[in-house]
């Protein structure tokens, strides 16, 4: 801590000495034409040097809720109910009294409850109907007085039963405002005067003129307060989810994978048929996947030869040694447009263009499922998908690749479960031990079936996997609600960061 005073501290202390009394910090800020926040920050620094004191004051005020404001106009339900009974001669059935008092179905319960608790009305059953009788001449309601006073601008009140009742009934809310007052510690006055007189010398701003003249030599510089926490500020930066995806891409490229692209709107041919998903599979129905209906609902087949090979595989296995689905294959279904439900069609589009030699491809991008948006489900989610094509690859190699990728994202402990996907055989589900979440499902994988690769003329083994990367992002950021992956809260984004 510097012995000398900063410019800010100096002005604050001078003003306090000048005033020579306890003042609200807001007044002090006004006098100095400074923001109150900044003045308090300076005062805090002076408090830590034991030169001034800050006193916190709480002020309790009351204001009406929407319901309370409504009752100021229309009267409390129990008062109205009492009035209704009285107008009907001091005795009436519940229904008649409610009608007379013009209460709606929501307020009539409230009215009954409080009319009984105040002892204004007696409630009896006569021949199975509820009958109300007045017990007092006039309904004197202190709650009405309280809410009327508040509505007229009287903000402070002594605590009382009726105030408590108004609070409990949520007609009135309590507002606590904090304010601060400050003063110089009397015993330190002479020390402060000394500091103020000592610190007026020294150079403030270093200017080009000062440097040119060399006038700064043999002079001292006025110190500034450099011990404070800087205020929050809003500069430009990237979205944490985007940075997370950048990081995943970096890992995949590091493992030798080439990034590829595929469209959100797909034909079911690419989305399912090329992946040997039967045309009547439940995943293709409207409750699971989005269909595109306008302006076009069907796409085109661009390669008849490939189309015919896929069709043959579905109908009878083609030349793959498979039985196929033994079911008529429909071009209408094949050309139907959908939003891709997974990134696997992108792998097929890549293989379509890269049928020779060893290949490694990845994509990290959006997929769509017809879900209602909630804390656990979203209509859009990210997948990190990859394939490896080479001669002689095995199931154990797949487990090896999955291990390397999961290590890349910081998950070392894995277990593998046999799984099932229409396009892979064998299929594997990978579970990883996450440092925060315990065992979590990381994604599906497997070896592409011959029914998937042979129509492209590919005889090499193709290992394929899809990682639910959104889940890893949520874990990394401590996000529990999936809707926060695409947060629409600018304040949250301004204060959030992904660090790896």
């Amino acid at each position: 801590m510097s012995e000398q005073l900063t410019e800010g501290e100096r002005t604050v202390l001078e003003e306090l000495l000048n005033l020579n009394q306890r003042v609200p910090t807001s007044d002090l800020a006004n006098r100095l034409k400074q923001g109150e926040e900044r003045v308090i920050s300076i005062l805090n620094s002076l408090v830590s040097r034991e030169l001034v004191e800050i006193h916190t004051k709480e002020r309790v005020t009351y204001s009406l809720t929407d319901e309370g404001a409504e009752y100021v106009d229309s009267g409390l339900p129990e008062v109205r109910l009492f009035g209704g009974v009285k107008e009907l001669g001091g005795k009436a059935t519940f229904d008649d009294a409610v009608a007379k008092a013009d209460l709606d179905s929501k307020t009539k319960g409230i009215a009954m409850n409080w009319a009984r608790r105040t002892g204004w009305l007696q409630i009896v059953k006569e021949d199975g109907t509820t009958v109300l009788k007045t017990l007092v001449e006039e309904a004197e309601s202190e709650v009405t007085d309280i809410i009327t006073q508040i509505s007229q601008g009287k903000e402070s009140h002594q605590s009382s039963d009726s105030l408590n009742q108004a609070l409990e009934r949520k007609l009135v809310v309590e507002n606590i405002t904090k304010s601060y007052e400050t003063e110089i510690i009397g015993a330190k006055t002479s020390e402060i005067e000394k500091l103020l007189s000592a610190g007026t010398t020294g150079i403030g701003n270093i200017t080009p003129e000062l440097l040119a003249s060399g006038a700064w030599k043999d002079k001292s510089f006025r110190p500034y307060n450099v011990d404070i926490q800087p205020v929050y500020s809003n500069y430009g930066k990237k979205h944490p989810y985007a940075e997370f995806n950048d990081w995943l891409r970096e890992i995949m490229v590091g493992l030798g994978f080439t990034e590829w692209f595929g469209p959100y709107v797909e034909t079911e041919f690419w989305g399912h048929d090329t992946l040997f998903v039967p045309q009547d599979h439940v995943a293709r129905e409207v409750q699971d996947q989005f269909r595109v209906s306008s302006p076009y609902d069907h796409g085109k087949i661009i390669d008849r030869k490939y189309y015919n090979a896929v069709k043959a595989v579905h109908e009878n296995g083609g030349d793959t040694g498979s039985k196929g689905w033994d079911w008529p294959y429909s071009e209408e279904v094949a050309t139907r447009l959908c939003l891709r439900p997974h990134t696997t069609p992108v792998s097929m589009r890549y293989l379509y263009e890269h049928r020779e030699g060893p290949q490694k491809m990845f994509i990290i991008d959006r997929n769509f499922r017809s879900e209602t948006l909630s804390a656990t489900h979203a209509q859009e989610f990210n997948q990190c998908e990859g394939i490896i094509k080479d001669k002689g690859l095995t199931l154990r190699d797949l487990l090896g690749y999955l291990t390397s990728i999961c290590r890349g994202v910081g998950i070392d402990k894995l277990k593998f479960k046999p799984g099932q996907f229409p396009f892979t055989e064998p299929s594997v589900e990978t579970f990883g031990k996450h440092e925060k979440l315990g065992w979590i499902e990381l994604g599906g994988s497997g070896i592409f079936r011959p029914e998937v690769t042979r129509p492209l003329g590919i005889t090499d083994t193709v290992l394929a996997w899809g990682l639910g990367s959104g889940r890893l992002y949520m874990a990394a950021m401590g996000i529990n609600d999936i809707r926060d992956n695409y947060s629409r809260d600018l304040n949250w984004l301004r204060r959030s960061h992904f660090v790896r």
Partner: protein, 553 residues
């Protein structure tokens, strides 16, 4: 799919006391997962390919064999009953196939009957594709007078008491008044005649695939002898469903008898048929797929642990596939089971050998560059859903573009694909008016625009959208920033701004952005009407530029 089992029942069928932990571990290794345990009830998730595991009996059979308590192909002896199902002409376009089996001495108590119904439901909903491809009926065998007739009838002529009702209904009434008729009626309703199953006294068994009769088709705790039938449109599916349910019931001490189906062309089908399918797979193919060096006998052991019959030859293995398995289409399906039988817990990951060099796509590289420049300009990156509402894209923006629209959205707010980033940014800004100003936000992401000639009728375009909002904004700042962005993308001297009338922007304060003589975007001060539509109380300048997917602008 979830199967609910009673733990004591499951363990008694397995025939060995297991701890819950051991059971869970075993299930994990044969594709099933324990979802929940509550008292004596365990919920097990079964993969949809293992339709034969959709019942307590099926799960127990798989566990028993995996734990080597009883390995190899299980024989289900079938006695010929001589009973017949006669198929009448006229069903070939409606629901042409039927098969059946008889089970005698089956155990039945309230809980078991409930479980049989669950299995029936689970099988017909998935394997039977919600009854359209196959549906199953169970009947009290002793009440039926064979032969059974399966034939087409006019809807008005169909009259019986449907399950759960004590009075008769005719066909059309069942479709409108019975909950199953309402749910599944669409499968046969459009035909002039509907398939009906009745016995030789004309007593109705059921109206497949809708509902059983309340008289013949209602199992009680007294029922010991069952008649099971499956109807459908695909013969293998129909056979498999019958095999799965018959085998499950046989695990409950039932003895199986076959039924003869006689088709109109005198074709005979004796069902159920548990003859296993034969396959021969080379040892080499097996080892090269899994990455092991298993001998013939090792492979046989693994297969037997998965309920197959198998014998080792010199260079291959002869495999007998159980008739209740419907997921074996290709040798690879058997090889997967060999890997499972060998144990996924025994498979060690191998070190990957495939050498390739990796790289990012050109679009990702360009997007990254643009994002870096936007951050340099002091903008906060935001990310939004691709899906949004037509109101946001068109009405509020005073635009009338054609939008890629989905048929079955769960909510109108997420029913179309965005064709521009500006509306999404404005929507974001409208939600954040409580946050500190100035607000400078941008998004880099894909938009979709209908394109008739494209394969999927859509062009998907990478785009950058940006807006700045404060108590006072200035179009010149926006132009300077676009200049900074484009010049740093190597486009100095290749772009120009041309004043344009665009309803989204204030007249006289908007420009087209043109790069290499092609319009790629727009900039301007947002019109107060658009701000009002979004409920925004601060002025905004904004721009959007379409980026190339490849390297060339």
């Amino acid at each position: 799919m979830i199967v609910e089992c009673r733990i004591d029942d499951l363990l008694s069928l397995i025939g060995k006391k297991l701890t819950l932990e051991k059971l869970e571990e075993t299930l994990f290794l044969i594709k099933a997962e324990v979802e929940k345990v509550e008292g004596n009830i365990i919920e097990i998730e079964v993969n949809p390919d293992r339709q034969d595991m959709l019942s307590t009996e099926g799960i127990a059979r798989a566990v028993r064999s995996f734990l080597r308590l009883e390995t190899g192909l299980i024989k289900y002896p079938v006695k010929k009953s001589g009973k017949q199902i006669i198929v009448k002409p006229g069903l070939s376009k409606i629901r042409r196939y039927i098969c059946g089996s008889i089970l005698k001495g089956v155990k039945a108590d309230d809980k078991l009957i409930k479980e049989y119904m669950h299995l029936q439901d689970a099988l017909t909903s998935t394997h039977g594709r919600n009854r359209s491809k196959a549906s199953i009926g169970l009947y009290v065998y002793d009440d039926i007078e064979f032969p059974i007739i399966y034939g087409p009838k006019k809807p008005e002529d169909i009259v019986f008491k449907p399950l759960g009702y004590e009075y008769e209904m005719n066909g059309p009434t069942i479709m409108t008044d019975h909950e199953k008729g309402v749910e599944f009626g669409h499968i046969i309703k459009f035909h002039k005649k509907w398939p009906l199953l009745y016995d030789s006294r004309d007593e109705v068994l059921s109206l497949p695939p809708i509902i059983n009769s309340n008289d013949l088709g209602r199992m009680t705790t007294e029922t010991r002898n069952l008649f099971v039938e499956v109807t459908g449109t695909h013969l293998p599916t129909v056979h498999q469903a019958l095999n799965i349910i018959t085998a499950s019931l046989a695990e409950r001490e039932g003895s199986i008898e076959s039924v003869t189906v006689v088709y109109p062309d005198d074709t005979i089908d004796e069902t159920p048929d548990f003859t296993p399918e034969k396959m021969t797979i080379s040892t080499e193919e097996i080892n090269s797929m899994i990455g092991l060096d298993l001998s013939g006998p090792d492979i046989v052991k693994a297969l037997e642990r998965m309920g197959y019959g198998a014998t080792a030859k010199t260079k291959s293995v002869n495999v007998l596939v159980p008739a209740y398995r419907m997921d074996i289409l290709h040798a690879v399906d058997v090889i997967e089971d060999i890997a499972i039988g060998y144990g996924f817990d025994n498979l060690t990951p191998a070190i990957p050998q495939t050498m390739t060099t990796g790289k990012l796509s050109p679009a990702t590289r360009l997007k990254k560059k643009v994002r870096d420049l936007m951050v340099g300009l002091g903008y906060q990156e935001i990310m939004n859903y691709i899906m949004t509402s037509p109101e946001t894209l068109n009405d509020k923006m005073l635009r009338s573009e054609t939008i890629v629209t989905t048929e079955n959205p769960k909510s109108r707010n997420y029913s179309v694909l965005r064709n521009s980033l500006l509306p999404v940014l404005l929507d974001f800004a409208s939600l954040n008016q409580h946050a500190d100003y100035p607000q400078k936000i941008f998004e880099v992401g894909d938009i979709t625009i209908p394109a008739e000639t494209a394969e999927t009728r859509v062009n998907q375009i990478p785009s950058v959208g940006c807006l700045m909002s404060d108590v006072k904004v200035n179009i010149t700042t926006s132009m300077t920033e676009v200049g900074f962005l484009l010049r740093n993308l190597g486009l100095n001297g290749k772009f120009e701004f041309v004043s344009v009338n665009n309803p989204t922007f204030v007249e006289g304060r908007a420009a087209k952005i043109i790069v290499n003589n092609t319009e790629v975007g727009v900039l301007g001060e947002v019109s107060p009407q658009v701000l009002e539509n979004f409920g925004i109380g601060y002025p905004i300048v904004a721009f959007e530029i379409h980026l190339p997917r490849g390297l060339e602008w």
